[in-house]
């Protein structure tokens, strides 16, 4: 199998630049990176078709190996259409993100940050004296015991008893 060196170099540069841009936090750069990566992949597909040849329109006088391989080109066409629609959609949501929050950056997941920063102590599950959530406590006792409070008080024996 012969490979076109120019195409190979272009492909390598596009992959390198695309991956660099993809790792940026700015969304427009991410889109540009994705566009470069898809184009590099299209060139890779083209390269798998072997050396250039005649257009694959059947003529019985021409030997089969003189034709170009049409299958990778069909793949590339499909892939171009798909990447076109995805890029259009990406631009749409980036614009929406800009309209909503004047943001062109990948945002943190707030719920994830919240879960990560919470203490591992959970009053209901982890207290030494289990938190009393029963409905059957007589009302006068329930008023005396402030056990349903959250946080460090559950560890303090004087407060929980």
């Amino acid at each position: 199998m012969t490979v076109n060196l120019t195409l190979l170099l272009v492909m390598g540069c596009l992959y390198a630049a695309g991956i660099y841009l993809l790792l940026e936090r700015s969304l427009t750069r991410v889109v540009l990176g994705l566009a470069m990566l898809t184009n590099a992949t299209n060139i890779l597909l083209l390269a798998t078709g072997g050396p250039a040849g005649l257009a694959p329109i059947f003529n019985k006088d021409i030997a089969a190996d003189a034709y170009n391989d049409p299958l990778p080109q069909a793949f590339i066409l499909t892939s171009i259409v798909i990447s076109f629609s995805v890029t259009a959609f990406m631009l749409g949501i980036i614009y929406r993100s800009w309209v909503l929050g004047r943001q062109d950056e990948v945002q943190d997941d707030l719920e994830d940050r919240r879960v990560a920063s919470q203490s591992s102590f959970d009053a209901e599950d982890d207290a030494d004296v289990p938190e009393d959530t029963t409905e059957f406590t007589p009302p006068e006792e329930a008023e005396e015991a402030p056990g349903s409070q959250r946080g460090n008080t559950a560890n303090d024996p004087e407060v929980t008893r």
Binding site: T41, L44, F89, M90, I93, G101, Q107
Partner: protein
């Protein structure tokens, strides 16, 4: 004419339905009727396909009469037919649930009218991926379902959905690119993308080349299936979508990735070259996923983590690579699609009834709505694997397959599977204790809707008295049904389907074992595509 020639209709019908639903975009009722009836017809068609394939084994259709390996081939075997039937049954019930939600809320127009066409396109993509007989058609199937899922994920374009949508789109595009690069490499190495043809030609390549192609495909599918080191995008993006969308994503999308992994592992790359790697990854997926679920307070996020965790069981069955292992994995996929989807649908109902999906703010739902409690309880203990439910049977089958294999690593996997099952029970019981069992007053900041009573003192049925409690959810509308029957019935149906899997576990196991035998044998698939005697 054999029945398998009906197979392309499983893709064509939803696409045509989507076009029709697009035309009817201003007529909500007609749109609902069209999409529900199209999916029902598709489901019936796929049941016919399954019953015919059950008798005859794998069958292939050549589109446009182009002979394999040149044209596009669609292959129905027991595994793909089973997946088609389950996925259509699930998508139909979720569609009815979503239509019920739309009817209850009375949204006459708005961005939701795009939901029905997009949803049908998603179903077409899933069916196409299950039926694809060549790698490139599998890629196209993935792209159809992913593009539809981008739209569904960002429905309405609110800030949290856009934020989650960006991550989801970028991760999915990267995984699709990796898949496309692998296809290019495989085509460069063998000159074909037809899977049956590849099954014969890949074995002739240099082992190092084979390993590289194998690992590239595995990484691409690993991202889609959310396997441990590649799973971090999932709990970040799924919970923000609307409840029915999250439910169908959780049920189907990761399973398409699992399907593609099973197909490539058994058909294209047989042998135990990377089974050790798969085992390690499966164990880590189970444990890391369920430990993540323990830390969550939002029920949707918690369920997303259990979803990741239970993908580990399927990978475990695949790594064992025996008939018992793969058969149990197929059974587990069917069980998990049903149960995980019903749990997400129930969470949608909890959020609607209780005003929030944060379990710290919920309470007393068992008294407010006993039916909701039953609907949560059954799939929850089914997921955790309590006998006699299908989750128990699937896990038991996987563990038996692991013990039969008998290597030290297999025993470690059996142990971590049991630990994951127990931790799942713990996570599910926490939701039960907080959201259903305790009184609303015990919650830290109970949602006002939990404490509200209707004017005659009975429990609340609609939102008529809730506006004054300033939840803001129903502002501007007179009276919204809190638990509309159109949403409850599909959930009941899905929970009943989960129970039916337990009752019908015998026939289902014989079907999944038959599918596993054909998958490991490879000959039925190859001969169905390339003709008799091709597999020699």
């Amino acid at each position: 004419m054999n029945t398998a020639s009906l197979a392309p209709l499983a893709v064509v019908l939803p696409v045509l339905g989507a076009a029709l639903a697009f035309i009817l975009i201003r007529h909500q009722r007609a749109q609902r009727a069209v999409s529900i009836s199209i999916l029902s017809v598709t489901l019936i068609l796929e049941v016919v396909l399954l019953s015919s394939v059950w008798e005859t084994g794998a069958q292939a259709v050549n589109l446009g009469a182009w002979l394999p390996p040149f044209g596009i081939t669609m292959v129905v075997d027991q595994f793909s037919a089973l997946m088609l039937v389950v996925s259509s049954a699930i998508s139909l019930s979720v569609l009815i649930y979503a239509a019920g939600q739309g009817m209850a809320d009375g949204d006459e127009d708005g961005p939701i009218s795009i939901f029905h066409p997009t949803y049908l396109i998603l179903v077409a993509g899933v069916s196409n991926a299950f039926l694809a007989g060549d790698l490139f058609n599998l890629y196209v199937g993935f792209e159809i379902l992913l593009t539809a899922s981008y739209v569904l994920m960002t429905l309405g374009g609110t800030t949290p959905r856009i934020r989650a949508g960006v991550t989801y789109v970028v991760v999915s595009v990267v995984s699709s690119l990796l898949f496309l690069i692998s296809i290019a490499m495989i085509y460069g190495a063998t000159g074909t993308v037809n899977m049956a043809d590849l099954a014969l030609k890949l074995g002739e390549l240099d082992p190092a080349t084979q390993l590289m192609l194998h690992l590239m495909l595995l990484v691409a599918f690993g991202i889609k299936a959310a396997i441990f080191p590649l799973s971090f995008w999932l709990p970040d993006s799924y919970p923000t979508a609307p409840a029915p969308v999250t439910a169908v994503f959780a049920g189907l999308l990761t399973k398409v990735g699992v399907y593609a992994m099973v197909r490539t592992e058994t058909l294209l790359f047989p042998g135990d070259r990377i089974n050790t790697l798969l085992m390690v990854v499966a164990g880590l997926t189970m444990l890391v996923g369920i430990l993540g679920a323990l830390a969550q307070t939002d029920i949707k996020r918690m369920l997303s983590f259990t979803l990741v965790s239970h993908i580990g069981y399927m990978v475990f069955g695949l790594a064992v690579a025996s008939v018992a292992g793969i058969g149990s994995a197929v059974f587990y996929v069917v069980h998990h699609i049903t149960v995980q989807t019903s749990l997400f649908l129930v969470t949608g109902l909890i959020e609607r009834r209780g005003g929030t999906a944060n379990m710290d703010r919920l309470g007393g739902l068992a008294r407010l709505s006993p039916l909701l409690a039953v609907l949560y309880f059954i799939p929850a203990i089914n997921l955790a694997g309590i006998p006699p439910f299908s989750g128990f049977l699937g896990k038991l089958g996987l563990m038996q397959a692991g013990v039969d294999l008998g290597t030290p690593l297999a025993y470690v996997l059996v142990g971590s599977g049991a630990a994951t099952s127990l931790l799942t029970l713990l996570v599910m019981a926490r939701v039960w204790n907080r959201a259903f069992w305790r009184t609303p007053e015990d919650a830290v900041h109970p949602d006002p809707i939990l404490l509200a009573t209707s004017s005659d003192g009975s429990s609340l049925r609609s939102s008529e008295n809730v506006n004054e409690h300033a939840t803001g959810r129903f502002s501007g509308r007179d009276s919204v049904d809190l638990l509309p029957r159109t949403m409850v019935y599909p959930t009941v149906g899905l929970v009943a389907l989960g129970v039916a899997l337990t009752v019908a576990a015998g026939p289902l196991f014989s079907l999944s074992d038959g599918a596993a035998r054909d998958l490991l044998d490879r000959t039925p698939y190859i001969e169905a595509v390339l003709g008799e005697g091709a597999a020699q």
